[in-house]
């Protein structure tokens, strides 16, 4: 067993030896291919499609957004190269760059559509985009040459070396493919990559972890489009002839299938899927026309029997038991604080109202949370507690009222900016990022903009480990968070919030769904946090827990504040007793 030396969590050189080896293999492979003819074309198609399908991994696999327009971006790259070189006599790479830039810009636009739309709607936007592009390419004959397509697309010179030969050009395509695949593989473990996966797994939770959901989706679409166009540009040079039907809706579906078949969560899966579906027609050649029907049936069978694709199937079986992370890390910064309670109001809420149609879930609530206190918000079911937290963290827009946090009006801010201001929360129905490991979940919290370690790749890991130490979950750092028990997932959620060094922590019914032992452990955890002076607003039903930790209690009923003050006074308040237990018999009679 070895303890990693200090400073070794961030590995900037990770993958570089593998990349060099893969480039070498790609070059050797390209030398082994024939210099022209059918076999070369199959290689060429696999390499250029492979690049585009790796692009799908970014948008669909990492970010979870359905894009059925990858062939359109592929086509934009191809037409950029073909029209640029043939009609406008541009240098191959200049033309390629123009095609890629146009595709990237349109990709950003499509991503921006996700501001208002998600799921099927977004899929429809991508389909519409795909269809319109096909119609334009077919009919704008003066510009695009129409259905006849563009002929005699040249191949480039690179560093004075002519890549006109089939093998040479294939080398360029394969090396590009390898570099793109490794870059996308690396992307997964970067801050942007984690943000994409967080958005995929739970966009609400992502926004309350300081992730700008819209920017993340736009970036994913943009990157995916750029990579798609890069593949298309090389495709145009590879086949020297392109026409609109090569970039139709049907091809987008083929690319989507390649990604899903191989495994959309990994670029290597995408490459396997691409290779297989490029070669499969050759193998199925004996089936003649039935080939496409078999292919359609195969898509259904893959969805049913290999939900994570071929790569997912293999990776699941090869998953090594991750070793525990043994390195010593510094404590959470908040542990250095002393539990000083001050009169300063961290969260000041005045006249807060939230109406859903005629239902007044919150109706003019005032709350002042002082720094260093544990403030409990209690009330019967339907009293507006969860709505309160959702409005304060920006998931709902208030109907009226004002929210001040750390001396600043945050009433109009979106959730991620509230988090960046230092407001962290957990959810009643746990919202962890299920497709990521425990450590990755907490790292998302640690890298919120504004955190002291946010710009330091190594510091983020250390901070995340420290937060896991604090909640006692270090041993599970490399487990997928979805495999943990409910109670442990709650700890991960709390660790995620703590890793961001928040000014204030909002806990939405943290004891919900926990058993007795887990509740006791949670109480201890909250008392420890309180001892270190973290300002906490906790909602819960569990009076035992509330009595143990609260310095101050506010009681809501029917969207209004019915009591506010020290624990004893509030819990003895007749209105509070009435709200929880009903009116005393004598008065009710």
């Amino acid at each position: 067993m070895s303890t990693p030396p200090p400073g070794s969590f961030a590995r900037p050189w990770r993958g570089i030896p593998g990349l060099l080896a893969a480039v070498a293999v790609a070059l050797v492979l390209s030398r082994m291919a024939p210099d022209q003819g059918y076999i070369l074309n199959i290689f060429m198609q696999a390499a250029t499609y492979g690049i585009a399908v790796v692009g799908l991994v970014v948008v669909l696999g990492y970010c979870g957004q359905i894009s059925i327009a990858q062939a359109a971006f592929f086509g934009l790259g191809a037409y950029g190269v073909a029209l640029g070189t043939v009609d406008y006599d541009l240098n191959f790479f200049v033309a390629l760059a123009i095609g890629v830039a146009i595709a990237g810009a349109l990709g950003l636009l499509l991503g921006a559509a996700s501001l208002k739309l998600g799921g099927h709607y977004l899929a429809m936007v991508t389909i519409s985009f795909q269809q319109i592009l096909t119609v334009v390419l077919t009919n704008w004959i003066g510009f695009s040459h129409g259905p006849d397509g563009v002929r005699n697309v040249p191949r480039p010179m690179l560093f004075g070396l002519s890549l006109d030969g089939g093998r040479d050009y294939l080398g360029l395509c394969l090396v590009t493919m390898v570099c793109v695949a490794v870059a996308v593989w690396r992307l997964r473990t970067t801050r942007l990559g984690r943000a994409m996966q967080a958005v995929r797994d739970n966009d609400l939770a992502a926004s309350t972890c300081g992730i700008d959901v819209l920017h993340t989706k736009v970036a994913a679409f943009g990157l995916s489009a750029v990579v798609g166009a890069l593949g298309g540009g090389l495709f145009a040079g590879g086949f020297r002839y392109i026409s609109p039907d090569q970039f139709s809706f049907a091809e987008s579906i083929v690319m989507l299938t390649m990604a899903l078949l191989g495994g959309v969560s990994s670029p290597f899966g995408a490459l396997i899927g691409t290779g297989l579906l490029v070669i499969l027609p050759e193998w199925l050649r004996f089936l003649h026309q039935v080939y496409l029907a078999v292919y359609g049936a195969a898509v259904i069978l893959i969805m049913v029997f290999l939900p994570d694709g071929l790569w997912g199937f293999v990776a699941e079986r090869m998953r090594r038991r991750a070793r525990p992370v043994l390195a010593e890390v510094a404590n959470l910064p908040l542990l250095a604080r002393t539990g000083e309670e001050t009169a300063e109001i961290v969260l000041g809420v005045t006249g807060l109202a939230k109406h859903f149609g005629g239902l007044k879930a919150l109706d003019g609530v005032d709350i002042a949370v002082r720094r260093g206190t544990v403030h409990a918000l209690i009330g019967p079911n339907g009293s507006g507690k969860s709505t309160f937290i959702n409005v304060v963290t920006g998931l709902y827009r208030p109907t009226a009222g004002r929210i001040d946090f750390a001396g600043r009006d945050i009433t109009g801010l979106p959730p991620h900016l509230r988090n960046r201001a230092g407001l962290a929360r957990t959810f009643q129905n746990i919202r962890v990022f299920r497709g990521m490991t425990v450590l990755e979940n907490v790292m998302v919290g640690a890298e919120r903009v504004g955190n002291d370690v946010a710009e330091d790749a190594d510091g983020i890991v250390r901070r995340a480990l420290a937060a896991l130490d604090f909640v006692g979950m270090r041993a599970d750092a490399h487990r997928m968070v979805g495999t943990l028990s409910y109670g442990h997932q709650r700890y991960v959620e709390i660790a995620r919030a703590l890793a961001g060094t928040p000014e204030m922590l909002l806990l939405d019914e943290p004891a919900a769904g926990l058993n007795m032992t887990e509740k006791q452990a949670l109480g201890q955890l909250l008392r420890r946090l309180k001892g270190h002076g973290l300002t906490i607003l906790v909602i819960d039903h569990d009076m035992n827990l509330v009595e143990q930790v609260a310095d101050h209690i506010t009681v809501l009923n029917f969207g209004r504040r019915i009591a506010d003050g020290g624990p004893r006074d509030v819990l003895d308040h007749p209105d509070v007793i009435a709200a929880y237990l009903g009116e005393p018999r004598s008065e009710a009679a």
Binding site: M124, I132, V135, F249, L292, V299, I302, V304
Partner: protein
């Protein structure tokens, strides 16, 4: 003016077809949460069944039609068993992909079994049509409109006035609650698939005499029906109908007054405009998620 009215008539006829396919589409969304990319193939299969029964086997026209519809209803259940049932608990995307797979499969199976030759089918009536003022009403377009209207009325009666309809509605609104109340949710979903497939088949049968019957029929109709759905409002039944009609009219007018080659682009431009400006469509609900 006369030309405009004539174009409106044609547009509404085509729109009625889109509306029928969109209707089958929206019912599946409501009942099972399934976005069925194979909806256009239902129309294609309906049209091919008519070709087989009427052109090849020379059955009487009405027998051929009824037989085709019955087979399509049964096919809907098979379709559900293959694409929806095994994946029903895995969220939206896997089912979408498997219906895409099914559409590729069906289109190409027809191509293999039947060949690529496009077929022509007779219309419902021998008479070419009637002249009403400046508008010539083609008999097939008229039939489409009348039958589509009757189907919508029939569906309304079934859904609103019968116990089966209430059960179907309950299933689409809240599956868990419906099953707690003793409604056989699985059967309701299968019935919806059967109905959706049958209604798609009817659309194909009705449009067969206007267009040539070919495998290309499916994807055009399906994409237009999807667009109609979003324009009308995702998951809204009146929305699907009005969206389909609107799309047919816009497309026909666009082709006549602006550009024929760009005809197919109008539908998608209209769709994009709706998605970006009014994503809830004509009748849809605001999109929101609860924390």
């Amino acid at each position: 003016m006369g030309i405009l009215l004539q174009l409106l008539f044609t547009g509404l006829g085509i729109g009625a077809i889109y509306a029928l396919v969109a209707l089958g589409f929206v019912l599946l969304i409501r009942a099972a949460g399934v976005v069925n990319f194979g909806q256009g193939e239902f129309a294609m299969l309906g049209a091919y069944l008519l070709v087989i029964f009427f052109n090849l086997l020379a059955l009487p026209y009405w027998v051929a039609i009824l037989l085709s519809i019955a087979i399509m209803a049964a096919f809907g259940v098979v379709f559900a068993g293959a694409t929806y049932w095994p994946l029903r608990n895995r969220g939206g995307l896997p089912v979408i992909i498997s219906t895409i797979g099914a559409s590729i499969f069906l289109e190409n199976m027809v191509l293999v079994l039947y060949g690529p030759a496009a077929e022509q089918v007779d219309g419902l009536f021998d008479a070419p049509g009637i002249q009403v003022g400046p508008v010539f009403m083609d008999s097939q377009y008229l039939s489409i409109m009348v039958i589509a209207t009757l189907l919508v009325l029939l569906q309304y009666l079934i859904f609103e006035k019968t116990l089966l309809g209430k059960k179907l509605q309950a299933t689409s609104q809240d599956k868990e609650m419906a099953s707690l109340l003793g409604i056989p949710v699985a059967a309701m979903i299968l019935i919806t698939f059967a109905y959706s497939s049958a209604i798609g088949g009817i659309a194909g049968i009705l449009i067969a005499p206007i267009l040539f019957v070919s495998t290309g029929l499916a994807s055009i109709i399906a994409l237009k029906a999807f667009a109609a759905n979003i324009i009308g409002g995702y998951g809204s039944i009146p929305g699907a109908i009005l969206g389909g009609l609107a799309l047919g009219v816009v497309e026909t007018l666009g082709a006549a007054y602006i550009s024929v080659p760009y005809k197919d682009a109008f539908a998608f431009l209209m769709l994009l405009a709706f998605l970006l400006i009014r994503p809830q469509g004509l009748f849809g609900e605001k999109i929101s998620e609860k924390a």
